[in-house]
């Protein structure tokens, strides 16, 4: 793929993908379309973060909307547009904290029975039968995996859960997470360390056999 890229393509790619900072500038100049475009770019990553932190799909959708509103109202106070993603996720995190502390969170830690054989069986089946597009079993598999891992994540403290979600699912480094949350890198890593160890214990209770996976 690298050989297929050329100056023309790069130019086109740039035209197709203005940076966040460019879009922020356009919004501040009054271009509402640029704001929608910026949010279309970030809506899914923010949803993926919020959903795993609060543990409830409908709540997550509401909180993403709340995040978008706060971003729009506060965008003029963003001092460095190049730091838009960190600023955005800090807002999303604050929105989650407000909900969690309000007692109105409806975290859907499912009380359904776990799939027979637990996580270990699911992973084994996945290895034996790689997913195929449109396969109904694939849908079931995804739901079962999501159910187990969501339940495991919700067993963690909010601090550990947030750090792990940002690291594992949003791809932020420990340094970036520290910047978003306003805490030292060492604290981020400590939260991840203890969070992962706690998760391991929970996952073993959910049927993950020692030494087999991933």
């Amino acid at each position: 793929m690298g050989s297929s890229a050329g100056p023309g393509r790069d130019r086109l790619a740039q035209q197709m993908e203005p940076t966040d900072a460019v879009l922020v500038g356009r919004v501040l100049d009054g271009d509402v379309g640029a704001f929608n475009r910026l949010m279309a770019r970030w809506e899914r990553p923010v949803y993926n973060f919020v959903y795993r932190v609060v543990g409830h799909d409908e709540d997550a959708k509401d909180l993403v909307q709340e995040t978008i509103l706060r971003v729009f109202n506060g965008l003029s106070r963003l001092q460095d547009p190049n730091r838009f993603p960190a600023w955005l996720f800090r807002i999303a995190h604050n929105v989650c904290l407000d909900r969690l502390r309000s007692g109105r969170n409806r975290a859907s830690v499912s009380t359904d029975a776990l799939p027979e054989g637990g996580l270990d069986r699911l992973l084994a089946e996945r290895a034996d039968h790689p997913p195929r597009n449109g396969d109904p079993e694939e849908v079931v598999y995804r739901k079962e995996i999501a159910k187990i891992l969501m339940r495991a994540l919700q067993s963690l403290s909010e601090e550990q859960r947030t750090a792990i979600v940002m690291r594992e699912y949003n791809g932020y480094s420990s340094r970036e997470i520290g910047e978003i949350l306003g805490i030292p890198v060492g604290t981020v890593r400590s939260r991840i360390f203890h969070g992962l160890r706690n998760l391991n214990r929970v996952l073993r209770r959910f049927g993950l056999e020692e030494g087999r996976w991933p």
């Binding site: 793929m1 690298g2 297929s4 890229a5 393509r9 086109l12 790619a13 197709m16 993908e17 509402v32 379309g33 640029a34 704001f35 929608n36 475009r37 949010m39 279309a40 809506e43 899914r44 990553p45 949803y47 993926n48 795993r52 799909d57 959708k61 909307q65 978008i68 729009f72 109202n73 993603p85 996580l119 992973l123 996945r126 790689p130 997913p131 195929r132 597009n133 449109g134 999501a146 891992l149 792990i164 699912y169 949003n170 791809g171 480094s173 420990s174 340094r175 890198v185 890593r189 400590s190 991840i192 360390f193 203890h194 992962l196 160890r197 998760l199 391991n200 996952l203 996976w213 991933p214």
Partner: protein, 234 residues
């Protein structure tokens, strides 16, 4: 070394965040105290299991304006090459489907008419023949969110964009699709084998989607019939 410091460094090691100096320090400590090797393995394993859970997607896109090809969740910042040269031969089709997937869209033929659906359950938006509507200025409502009319017009813009891709000459179409695919590759990061598996799976899904799309379009609806109005071309 303090236990807490070692714990933090182990996390840095798991995620490839350490400097060479820090890495050597950790490895020396592990050699001195093999208990840490077990802890490291546990951390890696748990992280690997978490990655089995793929990205969730919101049921409906709340805000849509101009089309934004390549608007994938940002996984990381490093560029990476695609691994399989064979992908190039199918790149146009793959990227066509990729584009539609990124736009959360589905193209289909119903009763001989081209349609494009946006959003997912429970409330997908389906517009038929919207590609033939007049273009409009977007974002003119002045408020923080698009109005329903603006939203509908923005979807028409999006459909025109997709139609433009489909109706361009093969070479230019391929060029654009390759650009979209290259952007996708640049936005992704391969950190470990788990990521490679994830990427392969993702591309497999995209490829199948491309085949389905091309089969349906070519069988039921000649590409030449999807045209922009004169002067509408972007």
């Amino acid at each position: 070394m303090l236990r807490e410091e070692m714990e933090q460094l182990l996390v840095g090691l798991v995620y490839g965040e350490l400097t060479e100096e820090e890495r050597e320090k950790v490895e020396e400590e592990i050699a001195r105290n093999p208990e840490w090797a077990g802890v490291l393995e546990e951390l890696r394993r748990t992280s690997g299991v978490l990655r089995v859970w793929e990205h969730e997607e919101p049921a409906v896109r709340h805000l849509v304006s101009a089309p934004v090809p390549g608007s994938l969740p940002r996984l990381a910042r490093r560029a990476r090459p695609l691994r399989s040269p064979a992908l190039l031969s199918a790149a146009a089709g793959i990227a066509a489907a990729l584009l539609l997937i990124l736009l959360n869209a589905e193209v289909g033929i119903e009763a001989g008419r081209f349609h494009l659906s946006l959003g997912r359950e429970p409330a997908p938006l389906v517009l038929q023949d919207a590609a033939l509507e007049e273009p409009s200025d977007l974002g003119s409502s002045g408020g923080p969110f698009v109005t329903e009319d603006d939203f509908l017009r923005s979807q028409a813009e999006l459909i025109r964009f997709v139609a433009a891709l489909l109706s361009e000459s093969e070479d230019r179409q391929t060029d654009r699709f390759l650009t979209a695919l290259a952007q996708y590759a640049r936005d992704a990061e391969v950190r470990r084998d788990g990521d490679l598996v994830f990427m392969d799976r993702r591309l497999g899904v995209v490829e199948q989607g491309a085949r389905d799309l091309l089969e349906r379009v070519s069988a039921d609806f000649p590409l030449t019939e999807i045209r922009l109005r004169p002067g509408d071309e972007r």
